[in-house]
């Protein structure tokens, strides 16, 4: 029993203890059954006496859990102390296993069955591979097939709040990118215009010009190419618009200069236009010359005015030729054209190597100026062309052109030709050459076959063509004779007048009367002739060499003469046959000799040139411009006939055998 009880004891102790003793128990059991062996005492067994070994101990089997605590104490809040619990749970759980069996008839059971049957149905259709499930499936199906025919429709989902999973899904968002594109803005410009009447007019005019140009372009193509080359002066001004910008202001600048001058010389301009010397009424019949402008230019200070001529078209434009009368000193020459509108600077300037002796302007082509030089050449300057050189110049081809050209006269023959005649001073005192040169306007110079050669006894210094009778002209010579010649008679003159004792400086036909001409000379006299009578009608002695004489364009009886002592004399035969009605010093310094005088064809002014290069413009006072008085009741006839008649009357008085008019 001791062994048995000790076994039980051991068993209990070892059961409650850990597994460490399990092996010892097993060993002892085996030892017991094996055979009779000597008891092996473990080394740590208690050494007990016999008495102690025989002691009996009582053991009671109770149902108490030896491991349950016996003194569990709990805090009681009511009494505020720890109190022992009366009853301690003695249950000791040896083994627990969670089962998962569900009652068939419960709700959950039925649900599960239904689910299983549907799943089984699927499996049966697929194939019977899985044995367990098949079995259950068949049973389930058989059982549940009738019971739950409509399993599918309503299956409430069991809300399981503890098993809640939030599900969300997000689509892939493409990353956004900004893309911008900008085109270049079209250039904008503000444009504004007004539609005026004149804008419309301008547009029409432009259109018209374009049409005309296109027509013109068609025309030349029809002609031969040769003619195109010859055609000159057809500049298309529209193409020039792209040239230098500021030169376009030149026209405006020109006008401006004139205006500025007008301002400066305002009083003179006013005088020119409006001033009429009131004191003339008290002066009997005397008149005065009122000085207006004075034209001078730097480069002509040393030169003498050798020729003046008014432009036939532009009444304020006049040409002045500069040279020298001093045969020892000959320098360069100049041709200047001034306008009364701009007294401070000439409009056109031409310079030449040789001094100019004479000039003339073509009547129909007022842009052509013919000039005779001291060295015997003749040149034509074209004012329309900007160059400062003459457009045509005669060259010393033959020995004829060796001497100074004293006078140039331009005649209009036909629309294309210019006729030149000039008069040469021959040093040898023998011949007077009068060459006729035909010059076409287009430009080719041809020497005319006609050469007039006059055998005279003197050298020509001046000549004048008759205004009406083309072929008739007068030649004044150095010796004082005046020859009446005709172009038709190339070798002989018609008549000769023993005019003066010294060189004849100027001859001039009367603009109205057919027969009358005037001559002046360095022998101090001015004589008026009738070309049919050998002796002069009137003779005037002016006390000084007379440089020039000119008829007035408005009256047949008025003429002016200038002398080298600086005086200008104006005569009116209808007023005073014997004396000048005006004698006036017109140049500043005494040593200034006046060389030329010209009447303006329109305005009551004269221009006077002197040998210092100055040109002075003077206004004629009313007395000098007297028109025939109106007789009461009679009409005043105006016109050339009146003038002629007037002069005729005077001449008749003189033509009496009483002879020459007195001084």
């Amino acid at each position: 029993r001791r062994e048995f009880s000790s076994k039980l004891q051991n068993e209990r102790i070892k059961k409650n203890c850990d597994d460490e003793d399990a092996s010892t128990e097993m060993g002892e059991g085996l030892d017991e059954w094996a055979a009779a062996k000597t008891l092996i005492k473990p080394p740590d067994q208690l050494e007990l006496t016999e008495a102690e070994l025989k002691e009996e101990f009582t053991r009671i089997l109770t149902a108490n859990n030896p491991h349950a605590p016996q003194n569990i104490v709990r805090y009681s809040f009511k009494e505020r102390t720890y109190k022992p619990i009366s009853y301690v749970d003695q249950m000791a759980i040896h083994f627990s296993l969670n089962g998962n069996m569900i009652l068939k008839d419960s709700d959950e059971g039925r649900c599960q069955n239904a689910r299983l049957s549907t799943e089984a149905g699927k499996f049966i259709a697929a194939g019977e591979e899985e044995a367990e499930e098949t079995g259950t499936a068949e049973a389930a199906e058989a059982a549940e097939a009738e019971e739950l025919p409509p399993p599918r429709p309503k299956e409430r989902k069991l809300a399981n709040q503890f098993n809640f999973i939030e599900r969300a899904s997000k689509t892939l968002n493409n990353p956004l990118r900004d893309r911008a594109c900008q085109s270049e803005p079209t250039p904008c410009k503000n444009f504004s215009a007004t539609a005026n009447q004149w804008e419309i007019y301008d547009a029409y005019v432009e259109e018209l010009q374009k049409m005309e140009k296109s027509k013109e372009k068609e025309k030349p193509r029809a002609h031969i190419a040769k003619k195109e080359e010859k055609r000159r002066g057809r500049k298309s001004t529209s193409l020039e618009s792209q040239s230098d910008d500021i030169t376009k202001v030149s026209k405006a600048a020109k006008i401006m200069e004139r205006m500025v001058n007008q301002n400066t010389f305002d009083d003179i301009a006013q005088d020119f236009k409006y001033f009429e010397d009131a004191s003339d009424e008290y002066r009997d019949q005397q008149g005065t010359l009122l000085p207006l402008w004075k034209f001078q230019y730097d480069k002509t200070k040393r030169l003498a005015v050798t020729a003046i001529s008014w432009n036939p078209k532009y009444k304020d434009l006049f040409a002045v030729g500069y040279g020298s009368y001093d045969f020892m000193k000959q320098s360069q020459g100049m041709l200047l054209l001034y306008t009364m509108k701009n007294p401070s600077f000439p409009e056109y300037i031409f310079s030449s190597e040789s001094g100019i002796m004479c000039l003339d302007i073509h009547n129909d082509h007022p842009h052509l100026v013919a000039v005779g030089f001291y060295d015997g050449n003749v040149a034509i300057y074209n004012l329309k062309k900007p160059s400062s050189q003459p457009s045509h110049k005669s060259s010393a081809k033959s020995g004829k052109h060796m001497d100074p050209v004293w006078q140039v006269s331009v005649l209009f023959l036909s629309s294309n030709l210019l006729l030149f005649m000039w008069n040469l001073l021959c040093l040898q005192n023998e011949l007077v050459h009068t060459d006729v040169i035909k010059l076409s306007v287009e430009g080719t110079t041809m020497q005319g076959p006609e050469g007039l050669q006059l055998q005279t006894f003197g050298c020509g210094t001046s000549f004048d063509f008759h205004k009406k009778i083309d072929y008739l002209f007068l030649v004044g010579t150095e010796e004082g004779k005046i020859y009446k010649c005709s172009k038709c008679y190339s070798s002989q003159f018609l008549d000769v007048f023993e005019a003066h004792h010294m060189a004849v400086d100027a001859v001039s036909w009367n603009p109205y009367h057919m027969k009358v001409f005037i001559s002046c000379s360095s022998d101090w006299t001015v004589k008026i002739w009738d070309h049919t009578i050998k002796t002069p009608m009137f003779i005037y002695d002016l006390n000084s060499a007379v440089g020039d004489v000119a008829w007035s364009p408005y009256s047949s009886t008025v003429f002016a003469a200038v002398t080298t002592d600086g005086k200008a004399h104006v005569f009116d035969l209808s007023v005073n046959k014997y004396e000048a009605i005006c004698t006036q010093v017109v140049v500043a310094k005494k040593k200034n000799k006046i060389t030329h005088i010209q009447f303006n064809p329109v305005y009551p002014v004269v221009i006077i040139g002197d040998d210092r290069g100055h040109v002075t413009c003077l206004k004629l006072s009313p007395n000098l411009r007297r028109m025939p008085k109106e007789k009461k009741g009679q009409e005043v006839k105006k016109g050339p006939e009146v003038e002629i008649a007037k002069l005729d009357k005077l001449l008749n008085l003189v033509r009496e055998p009483a002879g020459q008019a007195g001084r």
């Binding site: 007004t194 005026n196 009447q197 004149w198 419309i200 007019y201 301008d202 910008d245 500021i246 030169t247 376009k248 202001v249 030149s250 026209k251 405006a252 600048a253 020109k254 006008i255 401006m256 200069e257 205006m259 500025v260 001058n261 301002n263 400066t264 305002d266 401070s344 600077f345």
Partner: protein, 94 residues
Amino acid sequence: MLEETLKRIQAHKGVVGTIVVNAEGIPIRTTLDNSTTVQYAGLLHQLTMKARSTVRDIDPQNDLTFLRIRSKKHEIMVAPDKEYLLIVIQNPCE
């Protein structure tokens, strides 16, 4: 040629200043100081346009050739061109 003309004008007696203005009213050449030039150019340009418009409205075949403004102190003269304007200020000697 033009340069000489302008020089002569400027050197003339009594001329205070000369201005050349282009079609847009901008001064191109001047002999006066900047502020005065700009002022003159702007004002006179407008006035010239107006004057020209007036003349042409009355008769489209006509055109303005010259404009003169006489004031107490001096005289302003404007010569218009197709693309340019020439302005001269002068003290008339009185």
